[in-house]
């Protein structure tokens, strides 16, 4: 979230799209109710199903799963055509006036530079015109035809209300009513918040759906303001924290990326990431990259990370390609992986195409599962009848299962969706011999270190030299680890302005990432968390819920990254003179000497507004980008592409370009392309989701939840039920080209048939929560059905739009 849960109460308009907060995030949804009750807010819900979020909305519109870019592109077109934009904001705080290179082009769904064979673009032309001084050309009058905003106008002019209706199935009048409501927040005094979740991420164009919505918010001036923002409602209690800590194949902590093979030269690795400003006077904060990187290397390799060995640069693996989950399971299915460790993650249930997953796991030599519960993954080798029919004797994988503590049995911090790091405390011992994840990983490390010390082996240096300063090597405490990822001085740090003054003593915790250095005198395992455990102790454990301004900032409750800032980009809530656009909901303001307010300014605290430093300090431009340049694989502007399994089989927006039916730059492996189904065989659009009563694949092990929602079901609309002769309570078989499940049919008016380009399309709703282990009645894993293809950028699987057929059993 750019903002945070409580801030939703400040919204004038709430758009829930690509999510269903009322059911998946019930206690967070309360803040929508609060905004409606006490801030006269209105709620819009756009969803294939009439969800519980929709049931309390002022306006609900149906949409075909997977077509959100067509809808949002239509909104952009409406705002630009009717001049419903916050003009000062768009001109000063976005790249609207930047001039794009002459050779950039878009035609029939494809951008310039496409290579069909590689399914990838040469992105050279996706760039601003850059002058000899290294700065981008702009035209503040917006008259130049290749100004970003003019290219946008042209691009989205194709997204007419009629086109939205054809592609999305959303009635034109309903769409226009929503556009009109959204456009009301283009004034400086009204804000809209957008709340989304996996209904946007789990598509082959998921990242671009989210970008498209962010563009709507930028046009309206709704980013960086109280009651506004792009608010991702994350699905698990600490995936925000684990993402921040870089537990992804190509990442390091704090959104630092690993080097590619071609980056053999450390200086070049640093130079590419220390991005220089693209406009005069801009902060471009990533220029400090080396301070973050060196401090990380000092946290991991201590004294062994030296200036001479480039801070242990070669201790890090280099990447030749992305080893995301889908890539790794495909390699496993080809027999190219030997071992796998699953820590608190149940990939057999959570990854697409269960048949492929079962085959892949069966080819492993060893599998290690660490979990508090009996996951399906840990028992993939066991026969569970129709729900999991395997022959144990043919599966040669050695499996070791380790029992782990749960939340109630450990101290530590989690990061919520609003980026708050909150400390929690242990209330009991884990059952039996269960241990914490920390103890398991620590003992695994010390055993490996000992083996390498005794026997030697492949490149032992990074293992033997890993900094392990914990009092009990097999049992580091959460406190020791938290202090390490936050940051400490390794020598007395002197004030550069007055070397007689010691800023931080050796060993002292640092107050923030501004204190980090690139000479090896500081350590910080995750620079964006620096200061969370500061000189004054553990700020994550703070419990002062005072809210002196009344807008819900509670700055002394826990700690928020970065720098305890609660609303990202909050400088953009003020005009160019530093005066709040909306004084009623002031976040920050310039008082003539410094920035003050109810939040930590997202800006240098004493930078006079007249210096013209832009509010988006992490960007080289200093402003927000409509034009993504080369940062996305499929293009600088979001474009509608059909899901990989499309009920149409063509893209209505580029009817004559067969290469642009589905995302032209998304990766799909050959066997998985062959496993896609067609609308002729599988005519219905399926989408998966969560229920209020269950959490993922965990709560089927929890008696209370297993009682409230005991049996697997699927939801179909009354029109489809009539067509296939199914009554409520009948059992149905739902098949895709990859397998089938059977479940009870819930027949509902909440899912209606849609008219898509003259064709009737039915939606099938598939809750995900069942499996072959647990206290609830055994069921089929929903991901038996889903396609093995991901978003072009994030590789998040396309669980939200695929094709099935429903039949009565």
């Amino acid at each position: 979230m750019t903002n945070h849960w409580v801030d939703i109460k400040n919204a004038d308009l709430v758009l829930i799209m690509g999510g269903n907060a009322a059911e998946a995030h019930p206690c967070g949804f309360k803040w929508v109710t609060e905004a409606k009750a006490h801030n006269k807010a209105r709620l819009i819900v756009v969803d294939p199903r009439f969800t519980r979020s929709a049931s309390v909305a002022d306006v609900y519109a149906p949409i075909r799963a997977g077509t959100d870019i067509a809808f949002l592109g239509g909104v952009i077109s409406y705002l630009l055509a009717n001049d419903k934009i916050q003009r000062d904001y768009v001109i000063n705080y976005t790249d609207a006036s930047f001039i794009v290179r002459e050779d950039f082009a878009f035609n029939e769904g494809l951008y310039s530079g496409y290579n069909a064979e590689k399914r990838a673009y040469d992105k050279t032309s996706w760039e601003y015109e850059i002058g000899a001084d290294g700065f981008a050309h702009t035209d503040p009058t917006l008259a130049h035809p290749r100004c970003v905003i003019n290219l946008m106008k042209q691009h989205y002019s194709r997204y007419t209300p009629e086109m939205v209706e054809r592609v999305c199935g959303t009635p034109k009048e309903k769409f226009q009513q929503i556009c009109q409501m959204i456009s009301s927040t283009s004034t400086t005094t009204r804000a809209m918040t957008i709340m989304y979740a996996l209904g946007w991420t789990q598509h082959s164009v998921g990242s671009q759906m989210i970008r498209c919505a962010a563009m709507v918010q930028l046009l309206l001036g709704n980013i960086g303001v109280s009651g506004g923002g792009m608010n991702a409602l994350r699905g698990h209690s600490n995936i925000q924290g684990l993402t921040d800590l870089g537990l992804l194949s190509n990442s390091l902590p704090g959104y630092i990326t690993l080097p590619f093979d071609r980056e053999q030269d450390y200086e070049k690795y640093v130079a590419v990431r220390s991005q220089k400003p693209l406009r005069p006077n801009q902060m471009s904060y990533w220029q400090n990259f080396q301070k973050f990187f060196v401090s990380l290397q000092k946290a991991w390799w201590g004294d062994a990370a030296t200036a001479e060995n480039h801070w242990g640069f070669d201790y890090l693996p280099k990447i030749d390609k992305l080893y995301d989950m889908l890539q790794v399971f495909d390699l496993m299915d080809q027999g190219k992986m030997n071992g796998y460790l699953a820590q608190g993650f149940n990939p057999l249930a959570a990854a697409p195409n269960k048949a492929k997953m079962t085959a892949a796991l069966s080819k492993l030599k060893y599998l290690v599962v660490m979990d508090p519960l009996v996951t399906e993954t840990s028992e993939f080798w066991r026969n569970f009848g129709v729900h999991h029919d395997v022959d144990s004797s043919k599966i040669q994988t050695e499996v070791i299962r380790l029992p782990v503590s749960c939340f109630a049995e450990e101290d530590g911090a989690l990061v919520n969706s609003g980026r708050w790091l909150q400390w929690h405390w242990k209330g009991a011992e884990p059952p039996g011999e269960a241990r914490t994840d920390i103890e398991i990983m620590a003992e695994l490390y010390t055993r490996l270190r000992k083996l390498y010390q005794l026997e030697g082996g492949a490149y032992p240096d990074p293992i033997l030299n890993l900094s392990w300063r914990y009092i009990h090597p097999n049992k580091p405490t959460p406190e020791e680890l938290a202090k390490e990822y936050c940051g400490q001085a390794l020598t007395d740090l002197l004030d550069p302005k007055d070397p007689t003054k010691v800023l931080r003593k050796r060993g002292e915790q640092l107050a923030g990432f501004g204190e980090l250095r690139d000479d090896g005198t500081t350590l910080s395992g995750c620079w964006i968390f620096c200061g969370a455990w500061g000189p004054n102790g553990n700020l994550m454990a703070r419990r002062d819920n005072a809210d002196p301004t009344g807008i819900g900032q509670t700055l002394n409750w826990a700690w928020s990254w970065p720098a305890n800032r609660r609303v990202l980009y909050n400088r953009a809530s003020c005009d160019t003179n530093g005066k709040p656009f909306n004084p009623e909901r002031m976040l920050v303001a310039w008082n003539g000497k410094q920035w003050i307010g109810s939040d930590t300014p997202d800006y240098k605290v004493d930078d006079d507004p007249s210096l013209g430093v832009g509010p988006f300090i992490m960007n080289q431009e200093g402003v927000a980008r409509f034009f993504a340049r080369g940062n996305m694989v499929e293009g600088p502007f979001p474009e509608h592409y059909e899901p990989f399994e499309s009920p149409l089989g063509y893209n209505p927006l580029s009817r004559n370009e067969p290469r642009a039916v589905s995302n032209p730059a998304a990766r799909i492996f050959k066997a998985d392309r062959d496993a896609l189904g067609s609308a002729a065989q599988f005519p219905h659009v399926a989408t998966t989701y969560r229920l209020t009563e269950h959490f993922h694949y965990w709560t089927k092990h929890v008696r209370l939840n297993a009682i409230t929602q005991p049996e697997q079901f699927v939801e179909i609309g009354t029109a489809l039920a009539d067509q296939i002769g199914v009554a409520a309570g009948d059992r149905v078989r739902v098949s895709s080209n990859r397998g089938h499940i059977e479940a009870v049919a819930v027949v509902t008016k909440r899912i209606r048939a849609l008219n898509i380009d003259g064709k009737t399309v039915h939606t099938v709703g598939i809750p995900i929560h069942w499996g072959f282990t647990g206290l609830a009645r055994p069921g089929y894993i929903a991901n038996t059905l889903t396609p093995f293809v991901g978003d072009g950028n994030s590789q998040t699987p396309e669980f939200k739009a695929f094709l099935v057929k429903v039949e009565k059993v």
Partner: protein, 196 residues
């Protein structure tokens, strides 16, 4: 009243309710109060936590019995929303309201277990055996398949034949040490639930 702690408040309301209903049954209140057991929460240990499910991060109060004496084992018997928490203000959803049954689920794992190739059952093993085996399997695979240089002779120092998926509800501290250990081995096939 404003000085009263939550626990005192529960103790008073608990005994008052019990006292008044006993009085209705004809007992003398003075005598009866001496007989009444204190409300269970009032002698529990209260621990602050946050919900492990979605990312709203509702504040929790966990109540356990066991007085933290050296060999007394605490057991949690009640979990409710934390009214001081600025986000959930004491509320919980149907998932969070069932948390006590997650802590005490019969499907909680208690011992390390081993499944041999081709077998259809688990066998219980010790932690020492389990960790020794895991470390040995990993070292064998790493030593056999570690890639120090790619085909072009560039230094790459990676290990691709073993991978890991990290948790979605483990703490920052667990995630941090997991990343530190796994990356020092050169693993690239490493993701967490955020990928999905």
């Amino acid at each position: 009243m404003s000085d009263m702690t939550r626990r005192q408040f529960l103790a008073i309301t608990g005994s008052t309710l019990a006292g008044s209903s006993l009085a209705l049954l004809g007992f003398s209140p003075g005598q009866a109060l001496a007989e009444v057991r204190q409300f269970k929460l009032s002698r529990a240990t209260e621990t602050r936590n946050t919900c492990p499910y979605c990312s709203v991060s509702c504040g929790l109060l966990m109540y356990s019995l066991g007085d933290k004496a050296k060999n007394a084992t605490q057991s949690i018997f009640h979990i409710e929303g934390d009214p001081d928490h600025p986000v959930n203000r004491g509320t919980l959803c149907p998932k969070g309201a069932g948390l006590i049954d997650f802590v005490h689920s019969p499907n909680r794992l208690k011992y390390p277990e081993y499944r041999a190739p081709g077998s259809d059952r688990w066998q219980r093993i010790s932690w020492d055996e389990a960790m020794e085996r895991v470390a040995r399997l990993m070292k064998q695979d790493r030593d056999a398949n570690f890639i120090a240089k790619n085909a072009d002779g560039q230094t790459v120092n990676r290990w691709l034949t073993t991978g890991m998926l990290a948790a979605s509800a483990s703490s920052n501290e667990a995630g941090y040490i997991t990343h530190k250990v796994i990356r020092s081995l050169g693993v690239l096939a490493f993701d967490n639930q955020a990928r999905v």
